[in-house]
């Protein structure tokens, strides 16, 4: 097996007397899509925030490309190559696609006082990167507000990949999308994976996870319930694990297996 890009070993995170994470082990290798599944409150958000440098773990170790590492800020994690696409996408609807694409990392030309935005190059790159992801923009100065949810998600992913993400953390990218947009985003994930990026796909939708995932880790009440490889587990089993098994079984009886 190839060396993981990032390996999180027995991560614990306490907020005061609340134990959000109680020993989570997780890793992702290049070109793999590792799904992190769990119900609301399972600790998924806390975990990815720890991975992306927002939180510092209370205990446990993080190895980045084999070396122990601790990120002091999201910026450091970002520079190391860990890109997170949060649910809010970090997109600003009133701003153009290009301006969003390069937000915080604007290309410049000139020096000293004449240092300015290289708007032509920025526009060109944006159009090109979006085309690679299968989206044809009307114009690079189109406001992000005019894009659909799936397209926005794709812009966010394309942006992360363009800026050299080695690990791409996607926080429930499909949760608010329609059927067609979901399949677009899933195919974008597949495309990104082919480029050798390790994808961490957070979801509570087992079907979406099964569609692109190579490995599946289920989180419940701050603990990992184990990792399964694709083909070794059925979606029904995953579903049961996520809900803690027994509770869902009861529900299923009354709902006639519709979940």
């Amino acid at each position: 097996m190839t060396q993981p890009i990032i390996h999180m070993e027995s991560i614990k995170k306490h907020f005061g007397n609340v134990i959000a994470l109680n020993g989570v082990t997780f890793d992702v290798t290049p070109g793999e899509c590792h799904c992190l599944l769990g119900d609301n409150g399972a600790g998924k958000s806390t975990f990815i925030k720890t991975m992306s440098g927002v939180h510092k773990p209370t205990a446990g170790e993080i190895f980045f490309e084999g070396k122990p590492l601790s990120f002091d800020s999201p910026r450091e994690a970002m520079e190391a190559g860990i890109a997170t696409v949060f649910q809010d996408l970090a997109m600003i609807p009133l701003m153009s696609v290009t301006r969003n694409f390069f937000m915080g990392r604007e290309p410049t030309k000139g020096r000293g006082l004449t240092k300015r935005l290289d708007i032509d190059r920025a526009n060109e790159i944006t159009m090109e990167e979006m085309r690679k992801m299968g989206i044809n923009l009307r114009a690079p100065d189109q406001a992000v507000g005019t894009l659909s949810g799936g397209e926005r998600q794709t812009v966010a992913i394309a942006r992360a990949v363009y800026f050299g993400a080695k690990v791409l953390i996607l926080d429930e990218p499909t949760s608010a999308l329609g059927v067609r947009q979901t399949s677009n985003v899933l195919s974008t994930i597949a495309r990104v994976r082919e480029q050798g990026v390790g994808v961490v796909f957070i979801s509570h939708n087992v079907r979406h996870a099964m569609a692109v995932g190579d490995r599946f880790t289920v989180l419940n009440r701050g603990q990992t319930l184990g990792t399964a490889v694709k083909g070794e587990i059925t979606s029904a089993e995953l579903q049961d694990l996520m809900a803690g098994g027994q509770e869902l079984a009861q529900l299923e009886g009354s709902l006639g297996g519709t979940i």
């Binding site: 999201p74 910026r75 970002m78 997170t84 949060f86 809010d88 996408l89 970090a90 997109m91 600003i92 609807p93 009133l94 701003m95 301006r99 390069f102 937000m103 915080g104 990392r105 604007e106 410049t108 240092k115 300015r116 935005l117 708007i119 085309r131 044809n136 009307r138 114009a139 406001a143 507000g145 005019t146």
Partner: protein
């Protein structure tokens, strides 16, 4: 390759018309407003309004307000308000007066020190807003009263009981920096233009308009620099991003705190620039200086296309907004209308601008 090219056109998207493209420019409303107001006064006002001296007459107050308005617009794009900007004019005026008159400092020290003092208060405003997470509206409203009160108390303290500090003109007389902040520029050019009869002159041969008041040059220069920064530099992108969605901007690596604090410092410095120019011009400073200017500056920014919610607007829009303001204030004196129509006109303009901006925003974001 050909397939790729084919797929570049989406049949559901119609080509944009020129009108739609123009609609997306935030400053469109303000430019339209200038045209409307000009037409209105061409029809109703005395023809003297649009002579060279008439134009200087309304451009001077427009410039003083515009310097504040452009700074207010940048801050508003960055997602915050500064209601203390008017009181800051009085406060900075007092500080400047004390430096020049009481301490006798030359302008080369007095001006940077005044600016630094103002910037410090601006930074404090910003820090309080960021630290507490309270709306800047309420934090700077407190600043409005504190600074106005501090100007009154301070003036009484430094003058021994008066709310007016006189003698600034004598103190700065002959200072080599004074021409940058007072009087008229290009007097030689205007004299020459008068001598060859291009512009009107008095019988004695001196031109009726001796030159361009310096504040107008500052106003134009600041509008150009602010527009350049907003549209063509990374910092400008950060300002838009910060105002559009602070959290998103922060997550993308924009130094949100730095941007906001700098913008608060900028409005404070703009207020002290206006204070310095008007105080030297008047030769004295008093505690009522800049009264109500905070609201006028915000109106200027809104007429200029800024959204109250931040993230959208333009400096050049605020430039034209200020010109509308100046034209209406001064223009009414050239007409038969009662002067007091001014405020009604102003309120109407503001309402119209806000409604118009709202429609524009929906267009830009494709909201339905």
């Amino acid at each position: 390759m050909s397939a790729e090219n084919l797929s570049q056109q989406d049949e559901r998207i119609r080509a944009e018309s020129l009108a739609t493209k123009l609609m997306k420019k935030p400053e469109l409303g303000a430019i339209g407003g200038v045209v409307l107001v000009t037409l209105f006064f061409l029809a109703t006002a005395d023809s003297a309004m649009f002579t060279l001296s008439g134009i200087m007459n309304f451009m001077t107050p427009a410039a003083q307000l515009g310097i504040l308005g452009i700074a207010a617009a940048m801050l508003m794009i960055g997602g915050e308000f500064d209601l203390s900007i008017g009181s800051m004019v009085a406060f900075a005026g007092m500080v400047f007066g004390v430096f020049t008159v009481n301490l006798g400092l030359p302008l080369i020290f007095a001006i940077p020190l005044t600016m630094a003092f103002a910037a410090l208060i601006g930074a404090l405003n910003g820090a309080i807003v960021l630290r507490t997470g309270l709306p800047s509206f309420i934090v700077t409203l407190a600043g409005l009263f504190i600074l106005r009160g501090a100007s009154l108390v301070g003036l009484k303290l430094f003058t021994g009981g008066s709310t007016q500090l006189r003698g600034v003109r004598d103190a700065v007389e002959g200072d080599f920096l004074a021409p940058l902040f007072s009087g008229d520029a290009f007097t030689g050019l205007f004299g020459w233009l008068a001598s060859i009869g291009v512009i009107d002159s008095f019988k004695s041969g001196t031109p009726k308009v001796p030159g361009i008041p310096v504040e107008i040059l500052w106003f134009v220069a600041i509008a150009l620099v602010a527009t350049y920064i907003l549209v063509r530099t990374p910092v400008g992108n950060w300002v838009f991003a910060t105002g559009g969605d602070t959290n998103a901007a922060k997550n993308s690596g924009v130094p949100v705190r730095g941007v906001k604090i700098s913008l608060f410092m900028l409005t404070a410095c703009a207020a002290s620039l206006v204070a310095i120019i008007t105080v030297i011009d008047a030769g004295s400073t008093d505690a009522r200086r800049g009264f109500m200017k905070e609201f006028e500056a915000i109106i200027t920014a809104v007429i200029g296309g800024c959204l109250l919610t931040g993230g959208y607007g333009s400096a050049i829009g605020a430039f034209f907004g200020a010109i509308i303001f100046g034209m209406v204030t001064i223009g009414l004196t050239y007409t038969d209308f009662d002067q007091d129509w001014f405020q009604i006109f102003l309120g109407g303009m503001l309402l119209l601008a806000v409604v118009f901006n709202n429609v524009i925003r929906k267009r830009v974001t494709g909201e339905r």
